[in-house]
């Protein structure tokens, strides 16, 4: 039996549980219609209408996403390297240090340019 199969089994159980309970909530819970209840909650004030697909939000989140991608890619390369580190020897070390240094250059730039500031 494939080593991945058990994961699927567990996933199936979890899915069954989650879907089941979400569905159950619809049955068990009472239904008392009230327009106000179906409005977006905004501490009682008239909710600001949201454009479909989410409203606008600070640009910083995009920036964070980009930075995350950069470092995530770094990690993508770090893991295989780390796992077979002993086999790679000094060459692997040097190369990876160069790689990390390169990413660090970008990191330093972002830092100095206030890319990491959340005012």
């Amino acid at each position: 039996m494939n080593a991945y199969a058990p994961i699927l089994v567990l996933g199936a159980i979890a899915a069954a549980f989650a879907v089941g309970s979400v569905a159950m909530a619809a049955l068990t819970g009472p239904k008392r219609y009230n327009r106000a209840k179906l409005d977006a909650y905004e501490c009682g004030i008239e909710p600001t209408p949201q454009p479909t697909g989410g409203g606008r939000f600070p640009i910083k989140y995009y920036l964070t996403a980009m930075l995350f991608i950069v470092f995530d890619i770094e990690i993508v390369f770090l893991y295989p390297w780390a796992v077979s580190f002993d086999a790679l020897g000094i060459f692997g070390l040097v190369e990876m240090v160069l790689f990390i240094a390169t990413v660090f250059v970008a990191y330093a730039y972002v830092w100095r340019r206030g890319g990491l500031e959340w005012d």
Partner: protein, 539 residues
Amino acid sequence: MTLAAAIPPIPAPHIEYLQLSPMLAVFGAALVGILAEAFVPRRHRYATQVGIALAGLAASFGLILYLAQAGYATTKADLAAMGAVAVDGPSLFLQGVITLVAVVAVLQFAERRLEPRSGAGAAVDAFAPEAAAVPGSDAERRAATSGHATTEIYPLTMFAVGGMLLFPAASDLLTMFVALEVFSLPLYLMCALARRRRLLSQEAAVKYFLLGAFSSAFFLFGLALVYGYAGSVQFGQIARVVEGTATVTPALANTTGNDALLLIGLAMLGVGLLFKVGAVPFHMWTPDVYQGAPTPVTGFMAAATKVAAFGAMLRLLYVAFPGLAWDWRPVLWGVAILTMVAGAVIAVTQTDVKRLLAYSSVAHAGFILTGVIALNQHGIGAVLFYLAAYSFVTLGAFAVVTLVRDADGEATHLSRWAGLGRRSPLLAAVFALFLLAFAGIPLTSGFTGKFAVFQAAASGGAMPLVIVGVLSSAVAAFFYIRVIVLMFFSDPRADGPTVAVPSALTGTAIALGAVVTVVLGVAPEYFLHLANQASLLVR
């Protein structure tokens, strides 16, 4: 803990750092540039960055010369870095051209006398004061008045140049793809950095980016398919598999038989490259991007990208797929004809100088393609020479465009150029020279280049192509002449644009362009010799 023993050590690959040094120099300069960007105080950045960039390029060019002298172009030409990079004649020649082009481009980027001084009295260049600021916002206004500048342009240029150096030298598909991206991505950004008409430039960037990413995706899928066919992305290996001289492993056996993989893959690779060179029908980005991008960047793009991309195309077609010539040549015939004709014809209707130059660059892509199709050593030499000639003409032409200005930046609409010849004969004459070179009038570099590619194509048995090329260059001549007429024989408008007096930087760029144009037109012998000498692709 005992794993070190458990795993057999992986042999460290052998990297010929000397052969790779030109690229390493440029990339190093780029990194240093970023650090400078991070740590050098703002008021010193401009000087520092320009210095770093020029130093890096100079070092790279010097190394290239050294390698060429040491015979890496001819006798010692070989694959470096485990067969990923080919250091041979074409690579070195094109790398030399690219570095020179980059030097000229950097000079133009550094030009700060054209734009009116900022509120704080600081001289500013052609790039957005603060690229992140929304156009028209207070932030931008503040940045503009305090005379900020996007000095990141220089590291970006360095990265682009690095990628371009690698692109024609790439000797396996993966390296080629990575190089493609490495020089494309900075260009996308540089397109968006115009100081004037920022919306236009940002839109240009979006278009360029989306279409570029689209085409590179095609390239990648082609890569995947070819890999699936050949079981390797190394050009030599691919060629062997295509010719059937490779030892076919049983694992390969079930895919190598499948020519669909190979043909579709090659087609997709072709799409990627043809997009980069702006050949019809993959040219639609060219006019918009050329028009929107800051003009110095446009010049750089138009010149260097073509050089790099055609170099790569040569290597791909001549080294990896000569065995398929019967399949790709007819297609390229069609593309070349389309490109020459469409480029020339559409250009006739243009009313904007930059768009006109864009379409002319499309037409020129077609001319160069005829050289590629020749599929003989003459063809390589001719293409190399043409690229060298064309790139400098282009740089010069766009440099001239930056000088013709009015209240809101460059006056690129043709009607504004009316009577320029009366107002400043010298500039108009130089521009006319460039246009004549584009048109391929004798005694200009354009003519020599055209002659070279055409006679290569003819000797390669593509005479019809030559005739089409000649005819379309006749059409093309028409709109170049039209501009000249406009400049010389129509009365200058009262509210016409002024011709800014450039600093030595742009001056050098234009002068160099003119000199190269004339020299390659009148006494091309040495350079043709060089190009022919360099026209041996290592496999």
